[in-house]
């Protein structure tokens, strides 16, 4: 029984990096042990690729168009994974009694949030693997290793605002409310961002709106990394602006949230 003798802690608290790693490790384990969630993440973009890109010869056989299609679908996969995992996942987690317990541990919100963002990035990358494989085997999409690496880096950066938006929703709403809200946000954002239809088909007014969305900024930056086709001038600026806004919303929502509400 000597093991639990209470003593004033002599050592300092674990640092923020170690704490983030701790949360990342166990969030990853929790996610990966629910195979359906992981498979859904892997399968959806791959299926969309098979149904909408591979059969269209004029896209599939044109290296540039095929690569852009992969980039758009890949980004959609990331938006959807981030918004659903974090919007819905956080809202569901909050209803579990373990969540208020974790909030009593001696760590602020930062390591948990950072870990969630990183975990989102990791699973976004997983979702892209089958997409890239299909594109490589069944289309003429082509990238150099350097471009692929740049693409992966861009994907991780672009996923940040969507993970933050997801968390802002998850910490503000109940799971029941979060689901429709995520859907209402995701699909118009994906469409306006040119993830379903390439933006060169857009009328001017829609194109103007499109360029202010985080999805369009992310898509164009990803296309730029993968094909060298330059993104529009303000893309990084737009992405950064949304990131700051969503981060503020997410932190505010976390602070306001006092766990499961009474009455």
């Amino acid at each position: 029984m000597t093991t639990t003798t209470p003593r004033a802690p002599a050592a300092a608290l674990p640092g923020p990096l170690r704490m983030t790693w701790l949360h990342l490790k166990y969030q990853f384990l929790e996610t990966v042990r629910v195979p359906v969630a992981v498979l859904g993440n892997l399968l959806f973009p791959a299926l969309a690729m098979f149904f909408f890109v591979v059969p269209q010869k004029e896209v599939a056989q044109d290296p540039l168009a095929a690569t852009m299609a992969v980039a758009s679908l890949g980004l959609f996969a990331i938006c959807s994974a981030s918004l659903f995992t974090y919007g819905l996942g956080v809202a569901e987690d909050r209803q579990l009694p373990f969540d208020p317990f974790v909030r009593t541990l001696p760590a602020g919100p930062a390591p948990r949030m950072a870990a969630r963002v990183l975990n989102g990035g990791v699973f976004s990358l997983f979702g892209l693997v089958p997409l890239v494989l299909i594109a490589w085997l069944f289309t003429d999409a082509s990238v150099t290793w350097g471009q692929l690496l740049a693409g992966v880096g861009t994907v991780l950066l672009v996923s940040v605002p969507f993970v933050l938006l997801g968390m802002a929703i998850g910490y503000s709403l109940s799971a029941k409310a979060a689901l429709p809200v995520v859907q209402v946000i995701l699909f118009p954002l994906a469409f306006a961002g040119g993830l379903f239809l390439p933006p060169f088909l857009f009328p001017d007014w829609l194109n103007t709106i499109s360029m202010a969305t985080p999805t369009r900024a992310g898509r164009d930056l990803l296309v730029q990394a993968l094909t060298g086709e330059p993104a529009y001038g303000g893309a990084w600026f737009v992405l950064l602006g949304w990131t700051v806004l969503f981060a503020a919303l997410a932190v505010g929502a976390y602070r306001r949230d006092e766990g499961r509400r009474f009455r």
Binding site: T4, L13, P14, F101, T104
Partner: protein, 324 residues
């Protein structure tokens, strides 16, 4: 202020507090705290001080405000009015919670994580955690280390929950209904663990709606009902207050105003049910007064009943007026 409430208990406490420099500072200090949820006043101007090395039982019916009080002490919620200090700091500041241990609710363990992973995860937050293997051994969970928590029985989950509260070598633990739903031997084992922690100098604040559990563990008892502290005293004093006898008797006269009767009810068969601390005196009084009575029956009110009586009785007088 609650200072005068704590003094008799301090004197009654058998062992001395560890000779730390900050031993005199209260581990938990709740000062005139009010917390509302919409229209409902969960806590109404509650003050409570817990010193180092105390084992305090927080007793009250469901919805009395016990869990709300713990959530304020653990920094999960903030009070609408008043202040809460934990180990001298604001419990909403993570650094103040290094010396705090808390049980998660058993239903809330992450189902897909393995037992040793949950312990590693929680322990990873503390500067000097108990090694996972050692802790699991101590709680008889070593064989389950590789099992997912979703596959554990209720009793095993409870044991893990209490183990988690101790993994960070805390100076104070908050135990919220630690043994609810356990069988007798599992409950005894957990009580032993809590006693051992306390014997090592730890401070314990324990909630229960079972008087029996508080009686087995606590030295000092705080009774909360409808958001108000109804009593704060040593265990013995509280037991004296709640150990009532129940006298059932038929009589044409109303006996509820006899000396020593603290509460009276009419039963379905027309007899009267009288609660009193001294049944002998009451019967003697009935006999000598010459009042007509029949079908006399006496038995000890169970501790549960007695406690219910105490809470119901306390609800009437003036303390309650300010709450509504």
């Amino acid at each position: 202020m609650s200072a005068q409430r704590t003094s008799p208990t301090r004197a009654a406490r058998p062992e001395t507090a560890p000779p730390d420099a900050d031993a005199a500072r209260p581990v938990v200090a709740v000062d005139h705290v009010t917390r509302r949820f919409g229209q409902v006043v969960a806590l109404d101007d509650v003050s409570l001080r817990v010193g180092a090395g105390e084992l305090v039982g927080l007793l009250g019916p469901n919805g009395a405000g016990k869990s709300t009080l713990l959530s304020l002490v653990s920094g999960q919620r903030r009070p609408d009015a008043g202040t809460v200090r934990l180990l001298g700091g604001d419990p909403r500041d993570a650094r103040s919670r290094v010396g705090l241990g808390l049980t998660p609710q058993e239903t809330g363990l992450p189902a897909t994580l393995k037992v040793r992973e949950v312990v590693d995860f929680v322990g990873g937050h503390y500067p000097n955690p108990v090694p996972t293997g050692e802790l699991l051994d101590q709680f008889g969970l070593a064989d389950l280390a590789r099992r997912q928590t979703g596959a554990m029985s209720g009793g095993q989950k409870r044991r893990l929950a209490v183990a988690l509260s101790l993994v960070g070598r805390p100076r104070v633990v908050l135990l919220d209904e630690p043994t609810t739903g356990l069988d007798v031997s599992a409950r005894q084992a957990l009580w032993d663990a809590i006693r051992a922690y306390h014997a090592g100098g730890g401070t314990v604040l324990l909630t229960s709606h079972y008087l029996e559990e508080v009686q087995a563990l606590a030295q000092r008892v705080v009774v909360i009902d409808q958001g108000v502290v109804k009593a704060d005293d040593s265990l013995d004093a509280i037991l004296r207050r709640v150990s009532l006898r129940r006298v059932v008797v038929g009589s044409p006269a109303d006996l509820s105003d006899r000396p020593g009767v603290v509460r009276a009810d009419r039963l379905g068969d027309g007899r009267q049910e009288l609660y009193t601390p001294d049944a002998d005196a009451l019967v003697r009084e009935l006999v000598t007064s010459g009042v007509d009575f029949h079908d006399l029956e006496i038995r000890g009110a169970s501790l549960e009943e007695a406690f219910e009586q105490m809470v119901a009785r306390g609800a009437a007088p003036t303390t309650e007026a300010s709450a509504r």
